[in-house]
Symmetry: D2
Subunit: 345 residues, 4 copies
């Protein structure tokens, strides 16, 4: 079965990534891609990887009636336009932060409040590893934040298996690429300033803490650093369990959670250059790499989690969730393989 | 129909790229991948993008009998092992320089001679845009060099249409990524030394001149610079035609040569960031982007050509040629789409 | 003797570089640094390397009376404000393009004309290797463009020694870093788009052609590519002499021109990683590295020239010229040594 | 007064950095630089920033008698050659790990034991912020590790002021550049593999833990990641104090410890791009930038510390310590200013 689809905000990085996935997806037919600034221009004008696609950006004011609408708009737009989106499509997948948190209090604490909190409970958080059942048949889906996604995937097996129950100390130190900042640029995002950085842009108070709290029940100590790559988010989670754990038990926990997951790979060390999860290894793919080390000195579990922030951390997650919602085989359109070697994707 | 395939030298970058393409190709069944240094280790040990592939490196000394053998060995190996390769497979595709030039004199001039020059004429140069007919049914194929491929693709329409006939001045200034140097490393290739460079590693005397001479009949002034990317080769060809040419005529020439080509895209300028060919736009794909500008001041045609050196410049070209040789639809297994944004792939 | 100095446009990259040089210069006393957008903020707010400097940006509307004023404003500003600059200071050094060309016709051909062409002949082009005598005592100095500087330095010995007299074919292929685009950013300059590029941003028609024509008497075929570094300009000049030349003669020519020059180093090949000029080797310094190879095949001289576009290509050149104009030892304040290893400065 | 100096292991990155500092230092006269592999070649052969230096590498087997010897040899060499070094010079500064820890037990736990543990107590750890008094007149100095240096500088004020006394949870997440791996290369250090990484190369068990334990009395949870830069080490220290602390108190602590320190700058937030410590801001300098944020949610102090691993983390620290040992003004030869903008130094 084929579903017609619209991408709102298709000019941006996430919107472009959605278009890339949808034009290669056998069950979607991308019929509309909106952009105010590039109206009437080809998709290839903004996204050189879509030069062969015969579609032009249209105005976001004239939404076609479609089966599925993906909104890749800046935070705040979906809040105000959600009625139009839902009128235009049976299934709405929002990639902004506007509906990803389950209660108004999160928006009061981490954002500038919410204009339609009554809709929050109707939106399903898109992460399949967390919410596969709720996603089935869902009409309103909200994709997670990339840093939160990397963290949640890293810690989920510890929560599911009782190693973490909310009282333990957890420090999460995230490193992210520049695509996270979006296509709009700005001084800090300019190449001369952004190149070669290790920039602690959110040592404390990052908004993605809210998702980790909401969906894992953990209040983690969370810091985010910008590093020199374009795609990628890497979460190093320093976990101090209350009881000692063995490596064997941990592997059992991680395997139990992820062995059936099509997009999570456990990276089990061994030798070689790529013995731990790395964003390079998953760039351009919907895969997450998860691994860990045990530090006997500090009785610490060091969980390592790597994703492509544009894929598993955003557009790929959205399509994955839409697949599940619509009853499509969930891997469809998301099996792109990564590259080796690859620079700073 | 499915063809069994072996990759010799699968531990290296080009060998790994071949494996990536073959495991995703519906008409090939990768049954052997050899590596002396990583014998018995999984492909994923060397290539993190192949972690899911259930195959281990085997010794290059024990070649299975297969339909097609791809040799991605250092220059010189194929010369000495060609008998073994041809005994093991009906179709041999060599990715080294050992058989890509059509006459012994080239090896005398640019290499250290040749040990079996009598075989040179049986090898078909793999570039389909040049040799599609000869490739059909070919049993012995030699893939081109990446810098030569970028250059030949840029200049071919000018040769085919008589703008260039060998007497004109042509300067080719190539910029390449670090993957061209292979996986073996070395001081100049180390990250601290190689990072951020504009390094004129072959201002004159680059071996790929030989291919341009052999297949286009042009003696170009050729220089190659290492720049900071991993994948990619970009050729800027400064062409001084004997007669003035118009932009319209040139477009007609380029369209005439490439309109039917599945892997060559003409990039026609216009506005936006990506108005010229760029390696970033084709990274991870088998596409070549070709474009040009006319410089009225110097009566110069500036031809711009961009490829992924690992794909169109090597492994992709090899699989493309093998498709043609074996009668498989030539696009099969080579339709990966690029990414946007992407860093320094 | 100490000269008071003002930097106009100190918020930008070139202005910041001027401040860096002047605060470390024993004969200058930086008393004013103007910035409209950062008025009243410390220099360190814009330039982290100046955090220890106890000076705040002031309005460009209130210029103090000083000995020397350096204008690092966008093109066009100096044209309209030159009277104010000259009223405020005995010596004015302009780093924009507004006065660097010696005749109005260049501004008609390459820019949008000129509003005060009668002043052009009073401005001395700042490149000491070309104009040392004229600079002595000069009250109005115009620094060269970075790409032109790299090119002129590479070709000057050939012109001085009659190898080039204007009739020969010369192709100049320049690779530049992102700092050339200035601090104002923009979509093409954003890290996700600019990272990892080989982008032919001016295949033809670059404005710096005008300087090469004006000061060397050469109409070169000129193309500029953006590559992934922040600082640096590298010019590869493909020169086709009318008469054959020997390597020994060329070295004699280059030594004759540069042996006494304090900021030009001839890089004579040999072995090792750094056997040719490279922008990395001169980053952060006022040095130019110049070298060449002879290509017997194409009877071509490949001249290689590397500078830091912010230093020898702009602020360093300006201070160097000011030193000469004011009778200060010309090396003063410009002897910073480069780093090794260094990434993509 | 001028001291003659030898650098042993001058071919490597740290050795080259020592040479750079010593040739620019008014109180040192570099008379010998040893390298086995580059014997008789000029310093400029290995280090392009030293092309003007008229000195050739000599054999490490023939050490001249000098005032001061700096050993920049791989770990293990100083242990076996310390007698020769001390015979050759009155003052020996070792930059390896061989003598930096104060007790044999550390070498048993973190290294492969020690061959002359009786000498350990005669070596003074070089970090002046920790050991200024002991360094005065010292004849045997051992420079700290770069990751340890960044961490110790970040946490020292908390220890000195009793915020940390050894019982608190401290997680240190370090990001380092590729120069840390040295000049010898290897597969993981090759540009194609190392470019664009966030690679957790030591999630647990890093040897620099030993120094933090030895000199701060803290057992921190320590992880090190390789990121894409050449120079630089950035430590993010997540500190959980037993008692709540105020930002004002913390600033008082940090100012108390560092206000008189010539090479430590407190970066106090505010606006702008560079409101936190960053390796880019200190690249090429002997400065450390230190700052912090308070996270009310997790009652966490996030301490941020950035150094150039080659300077403050190694060669600069060594020269700083030698200055103090010899009674030279301690800033001498170490006042190089950083660059802005700068890429990935």
């Amino acid at each position: 079965m084929t579903y017609t689809a619209t991408v709102v905000g298709a000019n941006g990085f996430t919107g472009g990534e959605l278009c890339r996935l949808l034009v290669g997806h056998p069950n979607f037919d991308l019929v509309q891609a909106t952009s105010r600034s590039n109206e009437n221009r080809t998709l290839g004008h903004a996204h050189p990887n879509l030069r062969d696609i015969d579609l032009r950006f249209s105005s976001p004011d004239d939404l076609k009636s479609v089966d599925t609408l993906f909104a890749a708009t800046p935070h705040g737009v979906s809040m105000s336009d959600i009625d139009r989106f839902q009128d235009a499509a049976d299934t709405v997948v929002d990639l902004s932060a506007d509906f990803r948190l389950p209660a108004e209090s999160f928006y009061d604490d981490y954002y500038d409040g919410h204009s339609c909190p009554e809709l929050l409970e109707s939106a399903v958080y898109a992460l399949p590893e967390l919410n596969r059942e709720k996603l089935s048949g869902a009409a309103f889906i909200a994709a997670g934040g990339c840093n939160a996604t990397a963290t949640i995937l890293g810690l989920l097996p510890l929560v599911e298996n009782g190693v973490l129950d909310g009282d333990e100390q957890v420090v999460v130190d995230v490193k992210v690429g520049s695509s996270e900042g979006g296509a709009s640029g700005g001084e800090a995002a300019s190449h001369p300033e952004r190149s070669g950085v290790v920039r602690p842009y959110a040592p404390a108070g990052h908004r993605h803490e809210a998702e980790i709290s909401a969906f894992l029940g953990l209040d983690v100590a969370f810091s985010v650093h910008a590093v020199d790559m374009v795609r990628g988010a890497s979460a190093t989670c320093h976990v101090f369990p209350e009881e000692p754990v063995s490596k064997a038990d941990l592997w059992q926990d991680y395997r139990g959670t992820y062995d059936e997951e099509p997009f999570v790979d456990l990276v089990a060390g061994g030798g070689g250059v790529y013995r731990y999860p790395e964003p390079k290894s998953v760039a351009g793919t919907n895969r997450a790499e998860i691994g860990f080390e045990l530090d006997p000195e500090s009785e610490r579990i060091v969980v390592l989690s790597a994703i492509d922030n544009m894929m598993k951390g955003s557009a790929g997650q959205a399509v994955h969730a839409a697949n599940i919602a619509l009853g499509i085989d969930e891997k469809t359109g998301l099996t792109q393989r990564g590259l080796h070697p690859v620079g700073a994707p």
